[in-house]
Symmetry: C2
Subunit: 177 residues, 2 copies
DNA sequence: TACGATTATGCAACTTGTTGCGCAAAGGAG
DNA sequence: CTCCTTTGCGCAACAAGTTGCATAATCGTA
């Protein structure tokens, strides 16, 4: 839904090839907006057609590296999108459907699944905290940009923390019953 | 992704028509798994073909009510799915892409959007808290099923609360910069 | 009874995202 | 040089979800 914008943002930070973009998605942007390389190539193609990005590199044959960069119209489009409004997404979690089903069925033990999720959330949280310690050490930040980047990371941290706590509380309560 | 299971669960609680199902989705299940009536009808058709649910009511013409109920194989399928494992979804939030873009662009004020989201999360949280006060009053619950249903609702509460707090903190920090 | 609004059902087209595969270039090992 | 693996690129088929619309019954009301 906002993949083109994510790509423009990333390319604006640093022009690169599709594959490099995919790798960067896995590392930073991908924490809160995932995309496969197929999607990225498809989207790059569209952005190129719309004249928002430009590729230098030969598109003649396959397997050739194509280096992309954002053009002025691309930046303008991103700017206007960025100033716009959007709704937050509602939760959509399989685990909650499972719990609901378990409540109705009455024959399924959900604790193993909760333990599983607790572990995964703890792991992801650990990753985020490590990034925070590394990229945003104690003390005030200089720029507003830093503040914003940190805010994005904190969203991930808060998200994982709250799920983690929820898993723990729910395990306690379900165990007690 | 888990729409068929959500439908089976809901039908198991109480058999009903497609339209009634859609209405129930809007009220309870829909808080954490949304679906339009088109999706629901489509899925009901598939479930019927697979022999997991049965419709009594004339399918001859359109506009005729069809009352659905879960068959034994349907319950079995739900049971085995429910005991299975799944991964939690990673965050995927447009707002975070916007913040990231704003950080790179450096020319956009994201505070109005943050204020907007704060209001929406506060509103949703209010709805959830009202449901909690109504359906799960103070004191211990009787059944394990109640405990599970409450856990699902608490997930929503925790989710909204953490976003709300994040919005507030981020507004403070961005304002200060 | 006829008419309009509402309710229930469903098709079709489109968008987004995933999965699986194939082809081309580059680089190292034998 | 040849073969094999890795990297970069991209198509095609599918699955999930959204949007828009069509059609049939039903119900209140003039």
């Amino acid at each position: 839904m906002s993949l083109p914008q994510a790509i423009l943002t990333s390319l604006l930070e640093k022009p690169c090839t599709g594959a490099e973009l995919a790798r960067r998605f896995d590392k930073s942007l991908g924490h809160f907006w995932q995309a496969t390389h197929q999607q990225i190539y498809k989207e790059l193609g569209k952005l190129e057609q719309r004249g928002l990005v430009q590729a230098h590199g030969l598109a003649a044959t396959r397997g050739q590296q194509r280096h992309f960069e954002v053009l002025a119209p691309g930046r303008a489009v991103l700017e206007s999108w960025c100033a716009g409004r959007g709704e937050p997404r509602a939760i959509r979690d399989e685990l909650l459907v499972r719990l609901r089903a378990a409540a109705v069925l009455g024959t399924v033990d959900v604790r193993p699944e909760l333990v599983h999720h607790r572990a995964l959330h703890a792991q992801t949280l650990g990753r985020y905290l490590a990034i925070e310690a590394h990229d945003f050490p104690e003390g005030a930040h200089r720029s507003g940009a830093d503040e914003l980047q940190h805010a994005v990371l904190r969203a991930g941290i808060v998200y994982e923390q709250s799920w983690l706590r929820w898993c723990e509380q729910t395990l306690e309560r379900v165990a007690a019953s």
